[in-house]
Symmetry: C2
Subunit: 764 residues, 2 copies
């Protein structure tokens, strides 16, 4: 665990430069605006280890799948987010010597991610040829102008010197995770407009996504280039400005970049719109752009900030988690989704996982307008035909839908049979998110307009995926991988069987409800899906007769058949030198061990908590948690919430810190690859569902807070239906303000409280 990050409530701060941690910092200090984002690579030339990354939302490449032995049903391609045109490079030479931090060790190095204003700031001092230079940089991806990135680079020298600044656009970018070292781009063209604005266009191979980038430079009054050159090759283009910098004076060099993609702008309009946007930005100038960007962040924070008093590490961490989520996804486009690393790295291909439904949707439900979550649901709705195709490839029929484990455009991308073909519980989470969204927002229309079609496809899948066991006289589900990926190809994973039964029941209920309503939408759905009530009756029969492994002796549901054949040795007895086991043990050893990667049975208890008595909750938590190694970033948050539920405050807080500071402290030793964006939503849930105990039942907001002992107070805003509520929890009570919306009601414990418009209540 690394702990070099300084703790400040609104900032992530690194002081002093250290080559070995630079890739971790590149991830942590990433910036983005939902439309594009980039790792915190230095502007200057840097010859040390680095993972260069500039990403544009929705632009992917179908990299050829790599496997050892091909299995029928594998996808041919693995769509992955692309490293795209690099626009953040500003190479500086001082009297002919390049600033390169791997070669010239900087002093007074300070890097800051100003989360309140969405700024990446840096300052440092270097001595080159006996001259000491002080540099300051600021960079942001504008939250106001989604195609705009801006950098301010300031330099003060202690002696007169000549400075050359080379800056432009570089299309010679590769993915380090390319399966066959392919270059993913083609048809790159570069050029100059007279102004001078430099431009570069290129498109992805195979998928033919077009990208158009421009940049223009500016410098402060009093400084002017003594000469100007340009550079241009097939893949990169830029300007070189030569300045004579006087001792004590400051050169402030601004770089404005516009990046357009044909997801949003027709290629014919690229140059016209690009030039317009770059000129607008240039005319507005750095200060104004910075200001409007900062204001856009203020508007976001207004809905979603969480203030914690008395625990700065917790405070910094929750803001970092929220900040990264909104940098990744802002919710205005149903074609986009949330990759596990967002714009902070390549790992996991930037694709969509069930993380979105199980973790991110609750976050956006609570912190943004319902349209954001609705767009995430529509993403899956639009991919239903592909999910049906995907199921067909695996031998399912009649409109059964299996959503992919990993996807960019609805097609499956993963290439391990035990995951691709068997980790099918994802279908359950996708269905659950429909329930969750409707339950939270009250948007009942969604079921008839979109939800039911998805539910039908999913229910059909489960109905075909089970089989009748003559031995057990129950429906069984063979050959699955549950959320605990440290088990593969098991029979009757309790979580999967449980959520499958729920899906069939919920789909049947919704069908029934709609058939009793006046809405003739059902007729259309039935025609479209060729559904009849006999099929619905079949779902009800299967869910009622689903086998759920249970052990009488321990009085617990079993994670899967045969779980009790394992040697049950608690994690606490494992030598520290063998943790994490995924790095130390061979796969077969992990598989036959009792160790649980992430909540599995307990994930079911989390989703369906009201199906179980408190005592049952406790018993299962106490049985399974001791065997859980939490080697998935998605694990601690669920355990924190459940620990809070059963009154285990110590564990709840321990798991909170583990999820909240996962990247800040590089707990899994992999932050260098990028931040764990989706699990950050889980951190938010530990606050809202965990410490605040928020639930929605029968359309009412429930609060049931347990503040960690260390905290003086916790305050956050929450969107719930038409209201924006300000909720402040102190050790001795709760204050709820009705910040937006009409009079509303909340339930705390067994009492109901009414809060008038703009009103405030205190619950002692």
């Amino acid at each position: 665990m690394k702990d070099y990050i300084k703790i400040q409530p609104w900032s992530i701060v690194e002081e002093g430069f250290d080559v070995p941690r630079n890739k971790v910092s590149e991830s942590l200090f990433s910036i983005g605006n939902g439309r594009m984002g980039q790792r915190a690579n230095f502007e200057e030339a840097y010859s040390g280890p680095t993972l260069k990354g500039s990403y544009i939302a929705g632009i992917y490449y179908p990299d050829k799948t790599r496997v050892g032995w091909w299995k029928n049903g594998y996808p041919e391609y693995f769509a992955k987010v692309l490293n795209s045109v690099n626009w953040n490079s500003i190479e500086v030479t001082v009297d002919g010597t390049s600033i390169d931090m791997a070669k010239t060790v900087p002093t007074a190095f300070r890097r800051e991610l100003d989360m309140q204003n969405g700024l990446l700031k840096r300052k440092f001092t270097v001595t080159i040829n006996g001259n000491t230079l002080h540099a300051k940089t600021e960079r942001f991806c504008s939250m106001k102008r989604k195609n705009l990135g801006v950098i301010r680079y300031s330099l003060t020298a202690e002696k007169d010197c000549s400075i050359a600044i080379s800056s432009g656009l570089n299309g010679d970018v590769r993915n380090q995770d390319a399966n066959y070292d392919e270059f993913f781009w083609q048809n790159t063209q570069t050029g100059f407009y007279e102004i001078p604005v430099v431009w570069l266009t290129q498109e992805t191979r195979k998928t033919n996504f077009g990208v158009y980038a421009l940049c223009r430079h500016q410098w402060n009054e009093g400084q002017s280039p003594v000469s100007t050159d340009s550079t241009k090759t097939d893949l990169q283009v830029g300007m070189v400005y030569h300045f004579n910098l006087k001792a004590g004076e400051t050169l402030t060099f601004d770089k404005y970049c516009v990046i357009l993609s044909d997801l949003y702008v027709n290629r014919e309009a690229f140059s016209r719109q690009g030039l317009q946007e770059i000129q607008d930005a240039y005319n507005a100038g750095y200060e104004a752009l910075n200001k409007e960007h900062s204001e856009a962040w203020s508007a976001i924070w207004k809905n979603c900030d969480i203030e914690i008093e008395g625990d700065d590490a917790a405070q910094q961490a929750i803001r970092f988690n929220i900040f990264q989520l909104f940098q990744t996804y802002t919710g205005d486009d149903a074609r986009l989704n949330i990759g596990p690393k967002g714009f902070t790295g390549e790992k996991y291909g930037g694709s969509t996982y069930w993380d979105t439904e199980a973790y991110c949707i609750p976050f956006y439900l609570g912190t943004a307008s319902p349209e954001v979550s609705r767009n995430l649901l529509l993403y899956r709705y639009q991919q239903l035909p592909k999910a049906i195709e995907n199921a067909e490839k695996l031998g399912f029929k009649n409109g059964a839908a299996l959503y992919p484990m990993v996807t960019m455009n609805g097609e499956e991308c993963h290439n391990e049979w035990e995951i691709t073909f068997e980790e099918i519980h994802r279908n359950g989470a996708i269905a659950y998110a429909i329930y969750d969204y409707i339950n939270y927002t009250g948007d009942k229309e969604y079921m008839a307009s979109h939800g039911l079609e998805v539910m039908i496809g999913i229910a059909r899948f489960w109905a075909q995926r089970v089989n009748w066991s003559n031995d057990k006289k129950k429906y069984v589900m063979l050959g699955v991988t549950g959320p605990n990926e440290f088990e593969n190809n098991v029979n009757n994973n309790w979580y999967t069987n449980y959520i499958a039964a729920w899906c069939m029941r919920y789909a049947a209920e919704q069908y029934d409800k709609l058939s009793k309503s006046a809405d003739d939408k059902l007729l259309e759905i039935k025609r479209k899906t060729d559904l009849d009530s006999a099929e619905v009756a079949d779902w009800l029969n299967i869910q009622a007769n689903m086998y759920l492994p249970f052990d009488e002796e321990h009085n617990v549901f079993l994670q899967q058949d045969g779980f009790l054949d394992k040697e049950l040795i608690p994690v606490s007895q494992l030598p520290a030198s063998e943790r994490p086991i995924v790095e130390h043990w061979s796969w077969d050893r992990i598989l036959r061990s009792c160790y649980i990667k992430q909540a599995d049975v307990l994930q079911g208890f989390y989703f369906f908590e009201d199906d179980f008595e408190m005592e049952t909750h406790r018993r299962h938590f106490d049985f399974y948690e001791p065997f859980t190694v939490h080697e998935s970033s998605l694990s601690p948050c669920i355990h924190s919430i459940l620990a809070n539920k059963i009154g285990n405050e110590e564990k709840a807080y321990e798991f909170y810190l583990r999820t909240a500071r996962l990247d800040l402290n590089d707990i899994n030793n992999d932050t260098c690859d990028g931040c764990h964006i989706t699990s950050m939503a889980g951190t938010w849930m530990t606050i809202s569902k965990g410490f605040a105990g928020i639930r929605v039942r029968n359309g009412k907001l429930h609060l049931n807070p347990v503040l960690p002992a260390k905290w003086n107070s916790m305050r956050f805003n929450l969107r719930f239906r038409g209201n924006l509520l300000g909720i402040k929890i102190v050790q001795k009570g709760i204050t709820v303000q009705n910040l937006e919306g009409i009079q509303t009601e909340i339930i705390c414990g067994s009492n109901s409280y009414t809060i008038s418009a703009s009103g405030e209540i205190f619950i002692g």
Copy 2:
């Protein structure tokens, strides 16, 4: 199923040329001599689809492993047999036009594999520029001179013409199965000796195996080149001879090739020995070399031929199987083993599998001197340290040995976790082969000198691989893949548990036996392996308390835990369009189905037949065979033997044809990749153990024949201890001749018969 091969007792014959089947023929007509071998690629230029293959025994390359997602314990490299210097090319042009069968369709095409004499023969007629040419070729890898390959190419033209023959050595050869399209050779040099002899040397990258090849040409009296050229590049070298061929005359062109590897010859001696061998061959001349080669094959056939009267398809097939086995492995070098495709293709990397122990050793025991099988055992003995290392990589300790699933030099090569880490029953087969060898040959010394060390490593592995189940109060074995690879990561595979228990028991027995003998070898073994009797007692305890899944209702052992949860629909009800399922079904569907790829429970019944009553045999065969799809080439032979045992003669014969003609009829549609060499040994077992009912019990040979109704007689020679027996079975009796060795005894039914030296008995 293809059936273009003409049925002849001693020959494989193809008449007429057909491009689509050429790759199948290239496999079927392969030739080899245990030291080298090659696919039946044409001598002429050929622009149609072909899999070029020339292989040298024991020369491999560690190709970088390719996987989708890395798992701890995977081997970094996959050793594979290499396509080596191509020496069989003789390119012919007629008046400037090249003979290329893909372009000039030949007539009167006939290809023959003369199995009695080990010759690949071919003749054809082509018309080029209005001139008709008749060609005849003969090729062999000498069984007498193991480094020698010889080709005779004869050409008769109907009109005068000029012929150019280009022939030499080509080192620009690649493996089609290379994981990253790497070229596996380096430091290639080419040249000429004055005589002229052309030479080429190269070595493998990484493993640095050196190869040195030479060739020299000769032509018949009356024909002389009018001119001679040479060709030489970095990677290939050759001569070009120009002849003026008169109408009606025949040019007979001979090519002698010597291929040396530094497995047998020091590199310093390459040129001296190579030149000597090529000159010796040249001086001997084609006819004499052909004769001595044919005599060497006669000596082999003397020990191993099987004659079947009344069923030419069966006759041809068994000879083909035996022939290919002896082409692949002749048993004089314990560093070599038997790749699943021998020298007939690249697939499966040419590496060693458990096929050797379970299938090939019984074949060589019966058909060759005991040294051959002993060398196959020594191969594993020599790799024991690597097997211990392999187990250590997976977390085992204290000298536990896990032999690799796939290997060339003792290191694991496979890259699927469910096979590499979990298909551990291979350890059992390797132990069983020690028992089998000693039981058959009576070589009791072997246990103390080598066998016990291997048994200790294996017993230790099993003892660590099981765990105590508190639930079952038995030792269980979790997370394995049995012989039926259509199940992965199952718990308590009956076969694996059974053979593991047997290994521990057998190791303990042998330890006990040795400790009671006067031999002080045990002391040395105990010191070397750090073994004590407490550990041996532990093995006995574990094997006595091993869990063996059993179902009361069906009264059968279960293939694994949970087998009865499956839908049990017999294979006979599967639509033909979905067979083989491995080509039509997705992997998850196969896994959760009841379908069995190859004998699994029944493999155990085959190995340990005397542990079970006949009625138990019948019940298990009747329960499992109907769910068996036999999609492994290793399946039909075991089922044929067991069907014979239980008196199901019809099935026994059906399975015999399926195993015997697997490649000749391309039953699995994959003979184009190479022949199924190791399962050919299984074919021999269906005759010897199946129809002849041969067993060795208490040092005595038992015969219990059931001749297929269609056969008039079956005759074969069998090596058993000091004797060579000629066994002829007719419908009404058995004749046994004692061809070599002193007086011996055989048991038929419950009677014992004595046969004097050179004697013969008839059992009616």
